[in-house]
């Protein structure tokens, strides 16, 4: 069995008795693309926030690269190689596009900041907009900038919170290529509602529901899992009806899923 880059054991986060995340055991295999799915309010963002250190767990333990990181602050975890991109685009809106990515790169210490920054921007097709103020970019470009910031830190683990939300189809294809390119050097954990992206990209899928792990497996196994179908689709569904039932806003991607 391949090495686990990140493991969580009994990870919990309670807010005044509300169990946002409850005793989750989770293993992330190095080099894989792992998708985290689940209905709204299942605790996905809370869970990855615990991993990245943005919030502290109520209980449980997280190990990364063989070391216990449970007590480390977020910025130290980033320095260890866990990079996080926000669900709601969080860029430096008042700064030039160049500075946004340069900030991600310069912290590692490099002698070729300008060249590396331009290369990172080129990778997502934003090189010709380097001098533009980031806040004036189109929404899709802002998402790409955010992903570029995450990637340019050359992390060991890249956590993406709904990266394709609001992207056009062509941009999603570019995103898929980009993510395939960075593996297996980088392990990717992504929260995703677009089932096309999940099924096409992920090596493994974990389903969260009410803060607990419902199932983990390959995309095919998850697709065939009866418990997942019940949680996601409200009972009586079978695999073939996935695309029919996913008319919900959050499942927009599934409507295009191949049967």
């Amino acid at each position: 069995m391949a090495a686990m880059i990140l493991s969580a054991r009994g990870l919990s986060k309670h807010y005044d008795g509300i169990k946002a995340v409850e005793k989750v055991d989770f293993d992330l295999q190095a080099g894989q693309i792992h998708a985290l799915i689940g209905p709204n309010g299942a605790g996905k963002t809370t869970f990855v926030s615990l991993l990245s250190g943005r919030i502290t767990p109520s209980a449980g333990k997280i190990t990364f690269d063989g070391a216990d990181i449970t007590a480390l602050p977020a910025h130290t975890r980033v320095a260890l190689g866990i990079s996080y991109t926000f669900q709601i685009t969080s860029i430096y809106a008042n700064l030039p596009v160049f500075d946004n990515v340069a900030l991600a790169i310069q912290r590692k210490g490099t002698r070729h900041l300008h060249a590396e920054t331009m290369a990172a921007l080129d990778r997502v097709g934003l090189a010709d907009r380097a001098d533009q103020t980031a806040g004036t970019l189109a929404y899709g470009h802002q998402r790409l900038l955010e992903i570029a910031m995450g990637l340019s830190m050359t992390p060991k683990l890249l956590i993406l919170d709904e990266p394709t939300q609001g992207l056009a189809n062509a941009e999603i294809d570019a995103f898929n290529t980009l993510i395939r390119d960075v593996t297996p050097e980088t392990t990717v954990l992504l929260i995703e509602h677009n089932m096309d992206v999940v099924m096409g990209l992920a090596d493994r899928v974990t389903v969260l529901n009410f803060g607990e792990t419902l199932a983990t497996g390959t995309p095919a196994e998850i697709r065939a899992n009866a418990a997942v179908q019940t949680a996601y689709l409200g009972g009586e569904a079978d695999a073939g009806t996935l695309r029919d039932r996913c008319g919900l806003r959050k499942c927009a991607g599934a409507a295009r899923a191949k049967p």
Binding site: R54, P73, F86, I91, L95, D99, L103, Q106, M153
Partner: protein, 311 residues
């Protein structure tokens, strides 16, 4: 040479040339404004670039002023050593204050820094035996010189103030273009994002505050030696508010804003107090106009209206 560097050198050249044509009264004023502008530049590094709204910078200025003044008068230090002590005191007090105050943010940070400055002011009064309290003390003329440079003479004083100002200004320009400067601005713009890029917000802010304290300490130390007076009034809340006003008027987060703001505010008070005793009313009115029509200050407004290259 870039436009920005050319502009800064032109300002310095103008100030150099000005000493030959200025009448004595304004000659002394400009020397004073340049020293106060260094103080304001330090304030701008914390407030304008890093987003730390401090109400306690009088403490750092007074630390420099008193370390130098007491160093000369009480401990008999040579002038150069006393100036170095003033610089170090500004940085050290800022580091100590920062380590405690930076555990807070926003309004709490304002209140905590204000409290530290008040505590510093009261400490100066408490040790009145040495500091002479409100009354203050004069640094004797013999001590206000290094080798053959007599800082009590107008020409030398102006020149010394200009040298300090030039070093501070060019260092500030270099800082804004450095990686450290970029990470400070990042803290102001989006602290959470910066944390998730691996920056320790506490560390970046502390470094910014120490640099800011070094500027304030240098200005305080120079003020004591150039103008020869050390008094507790420099540790009052007024001297925490003044650099804030200078920076707001000239343009927060611009390198030349602090000087422009100090210059305009100084003469606004100077001229208006010639006509009325209510000169603070004039200052208030000017600030209202500023907030309404150019909330980013004069250079901030210029930068928004096309001069994007202004650092």
């Amino acid at each position: 040479m870039t436009r920005a560097l050319a502009l800064h050198l032109a300002v310095l050249a103008l100030l150099f040339a000005a000493q030959f044509i200025l009448p004595p009264y304004h000659h002394t004023n400009i020397a004073r404004i340049m020293v106060l502008a260094v103080f304001a530049m330090g304030y701008n590094i914390a407030f304008g670039y890093t987003g730390l709204l401090s109400l306690g910078h009088a403490l750092f200025f007074a630390a420099g002023l008193y370390a130098t003044g007491l160093g000369i008068e009480l401990w008999g230090l040579p002038t150069l050593a006393a100036l170095a002590l003033g610089l170090a005191a500004g940085g050290a007090i800022a580091a100590t204050t920062g380590m405690l105050a930076l555990r807070t943010g926003g309004v709490s940070f304002m209140i905590v820094t204000l409290m530290f400055a008040q505590a510093g002011y009261l400490t100066i009064l408490y040790f009145g035996t040495y500091t002479r309290g409100d009354e203050g003390f004069v640094i004797e003329r013999a001590a206000r010189s290094i080798a053959s440079l007599d800082f009590s003479s107008d020409t030398t004083r102006y020149f010394a103030a200009l040298v300090l100002f030039a070093v501070a200004l060019l260092a500030n320009l270099a800082l804004t273009r450095s990686r450290l400067g970029r990470s400070m601005i990042a803290m102001r713009e989006n602290e959470e994002r910066s944390r998730m890029l691996g920056y320790n917000p506490f560390k970046v802010k502390l470094i910014a505050l120490v640099i800011s304290g070094l500027y304030a300490g240098a200005a305080g130390a120079a003020y004591g030696v150039l103008f020869g007076y050390v008094g507790a009034s420099f540790a009052t809340i007024q001297y925490s508010i003044l650099p804030l006003l200078y920076v707001l008027l000239g343009g927060a987060g611009t390198t030349l804003g602090p000087f422009l703001g100090a210059f305009l505010m100084f003469y606004l008070i100077d001229i208006s107090s010639g006509y009325t005793t209510a000169h603070l009313f004039v200052v208030g009115a000017a600030l209202l106009v500023l907030v309404l029509f150019a909330p980013k200050g004069i250079l901030g407004a210029l930068r928004d209206r096309g001069a994007k290259w202004l650092p």
